[in-house]
Symmetry: C2
Subunit: 693 residues, 2 copies
């Protein structure tokens, strides 16, 4: 079989994934819903999410238009140098990247804001129907994201036959992810913090109380941050890993005049999607089953199916076993990193319990001990990434020049192979979280509340694991992108008749300069997002105060007094986009400035510094947030004095600090790194020809 | 003039510095002291510090004995390979490094624990005598540290005529710094946090209340952490920067058969010390003068004198102007970084005010906004370091092979040239901080309290600046050490007849592996130290509780009820050393493991990752701590509701979190990086011959 055959196979599997998603969607839609109050609140959430998406996509469309124009004029090389055709191809690929990712996001949000209502009502009948509704709702997103990313990559390569265009497609997906993940992250934490600050702290009304004007924004936030944002983030990582692998595979294939490496990339990617479909289809839970176990089991099924399928295909099509090994090493290291993350954030393990205990001495000790453990938690993940990269390299280096880096990119593909399953599990979280809120607002009874609490808690546990997993995957992907960058530079250099790059010597002052500056970027980026949340929350708090003051009877909960939920959604939306743009521009402009000062060598250092500091901070912040969240829940479950105790007050402070860590800054760093890596690759010709040094 | 002449010049200047220190010490001793109560408490502090030093040096002596044995057997090459002489030289140099630094520490602590009493009493007469006592007390330490480090380096090189022995001396200084800085850091924050937690929070008694059993330990902590620890840290950086520069200078001189580069290193270092002497000697304050201005003015005088003197010497001795330029760039960038640090930690600037304002919404917002600004604060410092390194490199590269890295090492020497002045300013801080406590405990009146408050506040402002400065200097120094590492590897490789290193390619999987693992080390190191403080504070809190329970009349303040201060000092001391050792061993063992797995290339990446992540975390943690400290003081000065307000409670939480950040973990990272760099250099032969890959 040749490359085209595997491309067609990928298209077929993508279409199967879409058909499966349609069936899941239909199944979710067929679940009963009758409660009027739940339906009403559900509609408010749905409309709020639609408002955010509409506004976000409007801003994004403008942004895309400007970037498209820049690409059209400048990339891959300025049009005044003669050839406009590659620029048109690149522009269209870029736009396609944003559109494909946006469509997946819309599908995910649509189904999540239906599934939440259905899952809430199903909770009256037991854990099984409620779980299945949440899980299958999440799986629609999983299938749409992975099907869409695979289909997009195949189509771009089939139509353009140009791997640089693939990077353009990937850059489109990244720009969207930047808006969806970082923008959504600011949105969700603005709403969450403001709702808690006025509702719980000032007025003492319960969480999810419908009197609180920010309560709908808070529920919308779960969807835009955790469903649309996370989906766009993993869409982006998945596309980037495939793009990086394909750039190198095609370059390798050219030298041997074959198509075997590119075929292997498509084959493995398609099998990953197939394995996820099987994992989702076979997921089940007993009548009184354990939802965490059910979620984890389907992940293990997917992993096992993937290993078997890829081994069989390697045997059948004579792929290199060494590359297969690299791919499987990536997958296994991903699972191990997930488990290590679990250790640091699970309330049955000692770190969470230590932090809960330390909370007795006051909030400063919650923060100090939580930060310390989160700092320790970066070690297993970083060592795992380092070992995976080293193992992949060592396995594949004997295959010849260029195979070592290709091996690393394949270990990223391997780690991301089960991403369809990961997204399904991840999107399950906000759906059941919403369902819990709806059960409370719709008064569906204590038993339903208990069930949705259990489902929600499983969602949180699994989320911590998948978060560690996706950061690690992004880490390997960007290492692969570094390889793609060199490949791009050398292609441009060859065309320009100037010397290319073999690597980046740390002792080269330009590389070192880039390295130091690059390491500052993710730190600044995170800080800007967190300050954005802070400022935006202040705006929303003022609005909530205004409503409680001006709307007669609201505080007392009179039925005719309806809070203006839309106002809060509007503030969260506008603020999120306003606060996001400077941070995104800072990252992109710094990249361009460093490239124009120090050329491609400085950029090599810059990307490396960015990856290193980015991974450290992403892991640190995500795990700190997860740890504090679970320490609070552990105390609320009645430990260390339970609710209302000194330890509880401290734990709440930890959780509030952790919120923007884990849902805004931490996971957005991935996207920032990918965006910067792709900007660097796309501008490689510019940096080669126009740098100061 | 040849190298020996400049070595003699350096010895002369060092001796002048010691004589000047002796004169300053005599002056301080001659200041009047009559108050019995102050003298009594002063003695308790002095004895407590002596207890700590004695115990620390006992443990250190054992540690040194073990390390000496390892060096004797293994370094620079195993004795079974034939030649024992270099190993003996190395061992003696190592021991000399610890001894020289220890002596400087003892001198510093001795004078600081006299000057605090004298400065307290002088405060009754006005700001001028009180300031001068504090400043001149601090200057004794400054002179002893810089005189001792310069003298040590000259003597080792004169006697052994071997630059590798210089690295052994530097490693000795680093081991001591690890104990003094990290151990002292754990000590001081254990005492500080425990004293506050039981005293201020539980019992509501004021700071520095003599009933509190931890109060003396707290005051001792200022001395062991900020005087002895900081002195050892800068002794270490200063020696390391000179050693790195000399390793390269001597290697360069060998190729041209001259001594000009080594002469220049000695000349510039000696002139730096001379400039500091002039700066200290001319420091003065008006009768109602501003102490911050006085401290800053003497820094500016030193800087200006240094620039003029080095320019004249360059003219007179025909040194390279380009190298002079690199040196001055380093110095100026150091000053700029200091000013940038000031912006983020000064209570007249917007970051501190923003954090103070955010504190109204609760402690979570103090933490979030403070962390965000601290994360932003790494940018100017990192860009400054990157620009200094790039500029030094570019300036010196045209001079020929090897000059570029030598230029970077000279910019580190330049940045550290005024270190005598920096230490004087830095040691001034804890002296006047102690004086403030003594004024309170000795009831010396409100006017004296106001004066010592003002002096203390100046100490805090200047401390933030000097901290940024010393982290930046350490950053440049370790870059230079990376150059020294290559130089060492190539010398060993030449002797072994195997190929050496030109640099470290990031795309080399071993380098990359080292890079990722190396970046985790400072993060883990910091976390271990912070958890150490946490655990140690718990022990001390139990002890304080026990004393209040068992000692009759203590809580009520009856005169016959005397707390057992020594018990608290003992706990702080034992705990500090116990908690420090695993962290130090982790860093050293990881280095050796990475070297044995991946060889010298992995170590190159490892050191780079260590530097990058280390600089980011050191800057972030130090600045966060400084910012929170000053935000609390700003609120206590009556802003945002003043003492007792909601904002104040939040600001106290921020300050407590910031304490181990800025006084334990943050500044210890410098030392960790230096230790690891030197271990790597010393083990270069081992890694060249015995690695797995």
């Amino acid at each position: 079989m040749n490359q085209t055959a595997f491309e067609i196979l990928s298209i077929v599997v993508s279409v199967v994934a879409f058909l499966f998603a349609a069936w899941l969607l239909k199944w979710v839609n067929q679940q009963p819903s009758s409660n009027k109050k739940v339906a009403e609140v559900g509609k408010l959430i749905r409309d709020g999410a639609a408002t955010f998406l509409k506004k976000e996509y409007t801003v994004l469309a403008r942004f895309t238009a400007i970037v498209s124009l820049i690409i059209l004029v400048l990339l891959p090389s300025p049009i005044w140098q003669g050839n406009i055709l590659p620029n048109i191809t690149m522009t269209i690929s870029y736009i396609a990247g944003t559109v494909f990712s946006a469509i997946a996001g819309v599908i995910g949000i649509r189904v999540a804001t239906v599934a939440n209502v259905k899952s809430a009502e199903a909770a009256q009948k037991g854990i099984k129907p409620s779980f299945m509704t949440g899980f299958r709702g999440g799986a629609v997103m999983g299938m749409a994201v992975v099907g869409g990313s695979l289909l997009g990559v195949v189509l771009v390569l089939l139509i353009t036959n140009n791997t640089t265009a693939l990077l353009g497609f990937s850059f489109g997906a990244s720009s969207l992810a930047l808006f969806a993940k970082a923008g959504g992250g600011i949105f969700t934490k603005t709403a969450d913090i403001s709702a808690d600050l006025v509702g719980k702290v000032e007025l003492g009304i319960p969480e999810d109380d419908p009197r609180n004007p920010a309560v709908i924004a808070d529920n919308v936030g779960d969807n835009v941050g955790d469903v649309a944002g996370m989906g766009a983030d993993l869409f982006d990582s998945n596309v980037a890993s495939m793009a990086a692998a394909l750039v190198m595979a095609v370059a390798l294939d050219k030298t041997t005049n074959s198509t075997i490496n590119a075929s292997m990339v498509f084959c493995y990617a398609a099998l990953g999607l197939l394995a996820s479909i099987i994992g989702v289809a076979t997921a089940k839970i007993g009548k009184n089953g354990n939802p965490t176990k059910a979620l984890n089991n389907s992940t293990y099924v997917t992993t096992a199916v993937y290993i078997v399928l890829t081994a069989l295909s390697t045997l059948a099509f004579n792929f290199e076993w060494r590359v297969w090994g690299a791919c499987i090493v990536g997958l296994l290291v991903g699972v191990i990193i997930g488990l290590a993350t679990d250790y640091f954030t699970n309330d049955e393990k000692s770190p969470v319990r230590y932090v809960a205990k330390a909370s007795n001495s006051g909030p400063a000790f919650t923060i100090l001990s939580g930060m310390s453990y989160a700092m320790l938690s970066v070690f297993p993940a970083l060592v795992g990434i380092a070992v995976a990269a080293l193992a992949a390299f060592m396995l594949c280096a004997p295959l010849g020049d260029g195979y070592a880096l290709f091996g690393i990119s394949m270990s990223a593909v391997g780690m991301l192979s089960i991403v369809g399953m990961i997204i399904s599990n991840d999107a399950y979280g906000p759906i059941v979280d919403n369902a819990r809120g709806l059960v409370e607002m719709g008064d569906l009874g204590d038993e339903a509340l208990r069930i949705t609490d259990e489902l929600d808690s499983a969602g949180n546990t699994v989320k911590a694991i998948t978060k560690g997993f996706s950061i690690a995957a992004a880490g390997l992907t960007v290492i692969a992108l570094l390889g793609a960058f060199i490949s791009e530079v050398n292609t441009s250099a060859l065309a320009l008749g100037i010397p290319g790059l073999q690597g980046f010597d740390i002792m080269d002052p330009l590389v070192f300069f880039g390295l130091i500056v690059g390491s500052a970027v993710p730190v600044i980026f995170s800080a800007m997002l967190m300050l954005g949340v802070d400022r935006n929350a202040q705006r929303m708090v003022s609005e909530i105060h205004r409503q409680f003051k001006e709307i007669v009877g609201l505080k007392e909960g009179k039925p005719e007094a309806r809070p203006e939920y839309e106002k809060c959604i509007e503030i969260a939306t506008d603020g999120a986009l306003k606060e996001l743009i400077p941070a995104g521009l800072m990252a992109i402009i710094t990249t361009v400035v460093v490239g124009l000062i120090g050329g491609v060598r400085a950029i090599g250092g810059f990307l490396t510094g960015n990856i290193v500091a980015g991974l450290v901070f992403a892991l640190f912040m995500s795990n700190a947030g997860g740890l504090w969240d679970n320490a609070k829940k552990y105390v609320e479950a009645g430990n260390e004095g339970g609710k209302g105790s000194e330890a509880h007050k401290s734990a709440v402070v930890g959780d509030t600090v952790g919120d923007p860590f884990k849902d805004t800054a931490g996971p957005s760093i991935n996207t920032q790194i990918t965006v910067v890596s792709l900007v660097a690759s796309l501008c490689s010709t510019l940096f080669l020809t126009c740098s100061l040094f």
